[in-house]
Symmetry: C2
Subunit: 232 residues, 2 copies
Amino acid sequence: MAAIRLYELAGAEEDRRFSPYCWRIVMALKHKGLDFESVPWRFTEKDTIAFAGTDKVPVLVDGEAAVHDSPAIAAYLEKTYPDRPSLFGGKEAEALSRFFVDWTDLVLQGALFRLVVADIPPLLAPIDEAYFRRSREARVGTTLEEFCCGREAKLDALGQTLAPLRRTLTHQPFLSGRTPAWADYTVFGAFQWARCVSPIKLLAENDPVYRWRESMLGLYDGLAAKAKGYPV
Amino acid sequence: MAAIRLYELAGAEEDRRFSPYCWRIVMALKHKGLDFESVPWRFTEKDTIAFAGTDKVPVLVDGEAAVHDSPAIAAYLEKTYPDRPSLFGGKEAEALSRFFVDWTDLVLQGALFRLVVADIPPLLAPIDEAYFRRSREARVGTTLEEFCCGREAKLDALGQTLAPLRRTLTHQPFLSGRTPAWADYTVFGAFQWARCVSPIKLLAENDPVYRWRESMLGLYDGLAAKAKGYPV
């Protein structure tokens, strides 16, 4: 058994791993060159991860340590494995990375959620589907299908949302510079989530964000590109 | 004469310095502990800075070097004065900082522009006022006063825009961590621009962004707080 276990959100199919937060950590573990065992987990399996003091994945178990919340896991990995490639590139970069987490959580994923959330229920096991629909429809105040209608306008809004990311990626290949790091994994997790659950085309091929996403999909022997999902 | 000269945008009053881009560089020079001579410059004085190959400030002149564009000036200062306190904290942090520039230029300053731009013309010399009104009204397609109406809705929109910044600042005192650096100066420049031209109250006192702005205003012996403008 690998020393590190990662509890990851899965759909009805065990290999449909679609949590943006889990993808951040998968990429971070690869960045660090750490082997890990991936444990599929479903929305309604709250009891399975209660030992870690949370009801959400990712949960990372490393020997005696159980860590949840993706930025906390990233900080844990950086501190615990300082001799591996740095996830941040110094304490200033680690601090700056926090804004990428918050922008992704509050802005980017919000714009994507409106586009893809209605595609998620059919991918879930029945018990999870009922839970997901009930909890998300309570949050948005309507059916998921109603919430996601008008895709053209929502794609336009996504295009606006991506404006600063797009401009940054005209200056440099990755958010972190010449090579990717935690900020890139954080933002990429959102796109990978969308790719795993929805066939919708989010980006034009001439978009610098598209080119960056292609680079991210190709990292670590095409790990993210090979994951179960839709072509981009 | 100081070795470094900085051309800075000024209003009719020579000491009303209100360019967000110039404020970034003023703070960066202070961060580096570099003395400089500030040269007031007005919108219509394009000829005065043509030697630097631009028609916009800030322009920094340091011996033989003339540098324009605020991120390029920051990079120049970091490279030229490596023994002074780092503006970034390493190359990864410098790369990550680019997104803060692009987010500030495209998102934050856009949200502020809609709130404060109509307050600017009365602060300008007559020749500049005519230029400013003509160029900005062509850009927005209406009068500045019309463009700025409905302040309550625009303040709400600003509040939404600030959501990721607000969350980051609940985690740490500055964007760059325990102490401010280039990313903080970049975002702060936008708030200082607003403060220099408009009496509008942008932030509630219990907002983490307000507390951060207070810290920024107090840096370097209250340099930004003492600059000509309105109370926040």
